[in-house]
Symmetry: C2
Subunit: 248 residues, 2 copies
């Protein structure tokens, strides 16, 4: 048996947003590896071994996946959303880069998925319909100063912005600082979308002006989208969109 690792994006939550390509990987894997709630989304099946692990052990999990593939197993590493956007793909490649040379000849593939920012944007309308920045607000793996620098540059460029991991229980202050930076750099009417658990039964969408945004509106299951200066609500609807046209 020839082993492989396929790093699979399960999309934001709904089964209807799992691509046939991702499903085919899950149907042929011998092992599924991932964070507990994502592994739980994969249906049980004879011959499929599930290896669920807690958050923040991404490198251990990646090493486990690669070592099983080296033994000939077909391993699906699952992420929510898209595996290449603040998810497992970079962790697996980091483990690969620092691991045994033999791992480098393994068959490894990334299977894209619907990432949370685009699922959230679709629910709101089209707030990311023009140029945008995608920023992970967690300062677990990078200095806060870099996050602040990127936020200020994104605002200066009038990009729309999509924020992943806006507010963890252990470090809630980052999102409060983010709102402060936005208040210093954007007008008070700037639209902010809080999209929680999109495509799941807990889905909740809220659109507010920046002046009314509070830190408590976000948690780790929330995607936050900040419009550009041109982003608006269509009068008579709840649709938020960013026009394609910018005057010269």
């Amino acid at each position: 048996m020839t082993g492989w690792v396929k790093i699979v994006g399960l999309g934001p939550g709904a089964d209807a947003l799992v691509t046939p390509e991702a499903q085919a990987v899950l149907d042929t894997a011998t092992d599924v590896v991932g964070y507990i709630p994502y592994v739980a989304r994969v249906a049980d099946r004879d011959g499929l071994v599930k290896h669920a692990s807690d958050n923040r052990v991404e490198i251990d999990r990646s090493q486990h996946a690669l070592s099983m593939a080296a033994e000939g197993r077909r391993v699906a590493v699952v992420s929510s959303g898209d595996p290449g956007v603040f998810a497992m793909a970079s962790a697996v490649f980091e483990a690969l880069e620092n691991g045994p040379a033999a791992w480098k000849s393994l068959h490894i593939e990334v299977i894209p998925g619907i990432t949370a920012s685009l699922a959230a944007a679709a629910r709101a309308g089209a707030p990311l319909g023009h140029d945008f920045c995608t920023i992970n607000l967690s300062d677990n793996l990078k200095p806060w100063a870099l996050i602040e620098k990127r936020l200020r540059l994104a605002a200066e460029g009038d990009f729309a912005m999509a924020f992943y991991n806006p507010r963890s229980k252990s470090r809630p202050e980052g999102f409060e600082k983010t709102l402060q930076i936005l208040r210093e750099t954007c007008e008070p009417e700037r639209l902010v979308i809080f999209a929680r658990a999109v495509s799941t039964p807990e889905e909740a969408l809220r659109v507010v002006a920046l002046r009314d945004a509070t830190p408590e509106m976000a948690d780790m299951r929330t995607m936050v989208i900040v419009g550009s200066s041109l982003t608006r609500v269509i009068a008579g609807t709840q649709i938020v969109y960013t026009p394609r046209f910018v005057e010269g």
Copy 2:
């Protein structure tokens, strides 16, 4: 019959990357509206009327879709990739905003899809595994000065970058200027990925250092991804990834 408009993302090209949610819309629509090559991707079916139109008539097409929905038809507006990323969603909402008041009570939904940047990133490895900017390089609808400003700010913030519509036949000079700006702002070793027609039979992937990148490497079917200063090729492989960790 109650009409609707659903703005559907067909993903980058392969049927295996069309979500079940998108397929279900195509299976229940009475009409499909879109750019010729995207409408051609929808299977013929009794009771389904296809309305294919040329490029650059996005507003006409949107008005047509909305007016058919107002008459009770179930209209799928199709885009390649994700409809919210430089595709039909913003055009439909622009037509809605400027159209008859009655259109504002229509049922309108955006159905997300796998966008080209993430499909291309998945093929290369995980070049967008850290913060990144998504920029449309076409200056059809915005001034070139804004594109240049955003490119310089993205480079200053050491964001990775994903470029849509890098180089049209009618305006090939924009991408040449883009490469010049990158050469002024990034080191010559910076990695540039040219990913053409990902997930189709014409797929081609090329990874070069910025110093070796030339305008001819891109066309309108190419997604261009520029790494951050930390993006690298894993020795002994062809995998390109951006690490999750940035030193403080």
